[in-house]
């Protein structure tokens, strides 16, 4: 590797100098191109190897493609309300309009704070209840032997693959006949168990050593004690994973709250935001983007805390 380094450094410096020479000479397109070449040159200098610099360059380019719309969202959210879509050249606001956030959060027409409360209340209740119910099922499907266990497991697995849109009408009719439409029951009860979480927790519990159960049993522990005192504490990482997945699934769920609620007071953030989009039409981009930012921010913050559980969960979920 070492003989490559001076070559990479020299080449990198060359690219930077050439980019600097050309910069400012010509059209905006050339300026973007030169900027890119300059950054690439800096990468070459920094890493000392062309191959590594190429990798970093690709990684950055991809990150830029994925995040360009998000950066745009933040910048547009700071333009004064009702500004038409600014061309990219004028994308940076002269004076950030922080009042947009106040205007959206305390909108006179749409109770965003109520949407926030609904989403937080529904999501936290669903996550808590779902973890209890699915961890019990995961325990029963992994640590205990009983007739019909495999059939039950395959029913969970099958419903995960095939339920889809088929259940929407019957579930709606059920909620209607229970008188639950447009109540918190309709937003919470259909989510309190999930085949995916059952599957995930079962897979994890299967990997714990069975000697633990036997030792506890010899000490006279019953199944409930083993479940709550042995398996649950050891299963914390899996519970965190299932909880994280459920959190994002419920927080961003759009379809179910859309059909099971209809008063503005009962809307969740996701559905509320779509009303916001419609009521402001395509015209008020700054306020729409402020609203989008307000919905996105908690998700990203929570994700940064729980991301490591995601990696583990996805890997666990793919084991067949």
């Amino acid at each position: 590797m070492s003989p490559v380094k001076p070559v990479g450094r020299g080449f990198g410096l060359g690219v930077v100098l050439a980019a600097l020479l050309l910069l400012g000479a010509s059209s905006p397109a050339m300026r973007v191109f030169d900027g890119a070449a300059g950054i690439y040159g800096l990468f070459l200098v920094g890493t000392g190897s062309t191959k590594k610099a190429g990798s970093y360059w690709l990684l950055t380019l991809l990150a830029f493609i994925l995040f360009a719309p998000f950066i745009w969202m933040i910048l547009v959210a700071l333009h004064p309300p009702k500004t038409p879509i600014p061309p990219l050249a004028e994308i940076i606001p002269h004076e950030p309009a922080w009042s947009n956030f106040k205007q959206v959060l305390f909108s006179p027409t749409l109770p965003i704070s109520r949407f926030f409360f609904n989403t937080i209340f529904v999501t936290s209740t669903v996550v808590a209840l779902q973890l209890l119910i699915t961890s019990m099922a995961g325990y029963g499907l992994s640590r205990l032997r009983w007739k019909g266990r495999e059939v039950a497991f395959w029913l969970f697995l099958g419903s995960m693959m095939f339920a889809g849109p088929v259940t929407q009408i019957p579930v709606y009719l059920l909620l209607k006949s229970l008188g639950w439409l447009d109540t918190y029951y309709a937003l919470i009860v259909p989510g309190i168990s999930s085949a995916f979480s059952v599957f995930l927790l079962r897979q994890f519990f299967l990997q714990l050593p069975f000697e633990l159960d036997e030792a506890a049993r010899i000490d006279g522990a019953g199944d409930w004690t083993i479940y709550s005192r042995v398996i649950l504490p050891l299963g914390k990482p899996a519970l965190a994973t299932a909880g994280a997945f459920t959190f994002f699934a419920v927080w961003t769920d759009f379809f179910n709250p859309l059909i099971s609620t209809n008063s503005t007071q009962m809307r969740t953030l996701e559905v509320g935001l779509s009303i916001f989009k419609n009521s402001y039409g395509g015209e008020n981009w700054p306020l729409q983007m402020t609203a989008a930012l307000i919905v996105m921010a908690p998700l990203v913050i929570v994700f940064l805390f729980v991301q490591r559980f995601f990696v583990r969960g996805i890997m666990l979920g793919s084991i067949k």
């Binding site: 905006p28 029913l155 088929v166």
Partner: protein, 290 residues
């Protein structure tokens, strides 16, 4: 007493599965034999009429075809992007985990926020793509979402880029499971890097590839939210996918029976695709001797 503990632990989740998945699937099948209006609640038994009507309903098969087209485009593209990104972030580079985190973020973003952003990306005037094209000297004002030949591609590209996170992690897990001795042996035999990729990496990834293919095909066949928020099935029904078509039938036209029949046909099609993919997979795995 003790032998009931297993079923007792599973009972709450299983009851929920019965009430919110298994019975509804059966009930949807039952409803598909009726002509029924959701709001007025009138209900007449019509036997197989809904199915025979749908057999000749061009708009329904257009929707089925649109979903198939969406799946055929978005699944392979999404898998190639996912594998490519996994290879990229599988290198030993300082700070590469930061990029893994960054690439995952769009996958957890709310569909509404993403749709709003990508409406902008595809806008005709001052939209992101058209602006970039303008900088490259290509002057267009294509309204990608309102253009019959572009709208579907717009949805596909958006899904492939924003859905890269989970696929990347799955392929990454698969790559980490390839025994390094294989590469060492290949290197001794003088196999080139591309040859190692085709002869070692891809075959060893077969189970992962299969898992990603099945799950993303099933998800793609049911796509709804981006269509609802971005194209409303248009222009000229070119993005009227079956998930959106069923939504319209059930919740806009309130034809409960007909919508149930449609969702049942979709269920059957998905089941056939899944079985078909499992068959192919078994043959492939046998070929690799695993």
């Amino acid at each position: 007493m003790k032998r009931w503990n297993g079923p007792l632990f599973v009972a709450p989740a299983f009851l929920h599965l019965l009430v919110f998945a298994l019975v509804p699937i059966g009930y949807a099948g039952y409803l598909s034999f009726f002509k029924m209006h959701l709001i007025r609640g009138e209900r007449h038994f019509v036997g197989l009429h809904n199915y025979s009507f749908l057999a000749g309903d061009a708009s329904f098969w257009n929707a089925m075809w649109n979903s198939a087209r969406y799946a055929l485009l978005s699944v392979p593209i999404g898998m190639v992007v996912g594998l490519g990104v996994a290879l990229l972030v599988n290198q030993r580079l300082r700070g590469v985990t930061i990029f893994r985190t960054l690439y995952y973020i769009p996958s957890i973003a709310s569909a509404i926020a993403l749709s709003m952003l990508w409406i902008y990306v595809f806008l005709p005037q001052n939209g992101m793509i058209n602006t970039f094209l303008g900088w490259l000297g290509i002057r267009t004002d294509t309204d990608f979402l309102a253009n019959v030949s572009w709208a579907m591609w717009a949805l596909v590209i958006m899904a492939a880029l924003n859905g890269v996170g989970p696929k990347m992690i799955l392929f990454l897990a698969g790559l980490l499971n390839v025994p390094p001795e294989l590469y060492e042996a290949a290197q001794l035999d003088g196999a080139s890097k591309p040859r190692q990729f085709w002869k070692i990496t891809l075959p060893m990834l077969a189970p992962t590839t299969f898992f990603v293919m099945v799950t993303s095909t099933i998800a793609a066949m049911q796509i709804f939210t981006p269509v609802y928020l971005m194209t409303k099935g248009g222009p000229e029904d070119s993005t009227d996918v079956v998930g959106y078509h069923i939504y319209q039938e059930a919740w806009v036209r309130f034809n409960t029976g007909l919508a149930s029949a449609q969702s049942f046909i979709l269920l059957a099609v998905i089941a056939v695709i899944a079985v078909f993919q499992f068959r192919i997979q078994r043959r492939q795995l046998a070929g690799y001797g695993t």
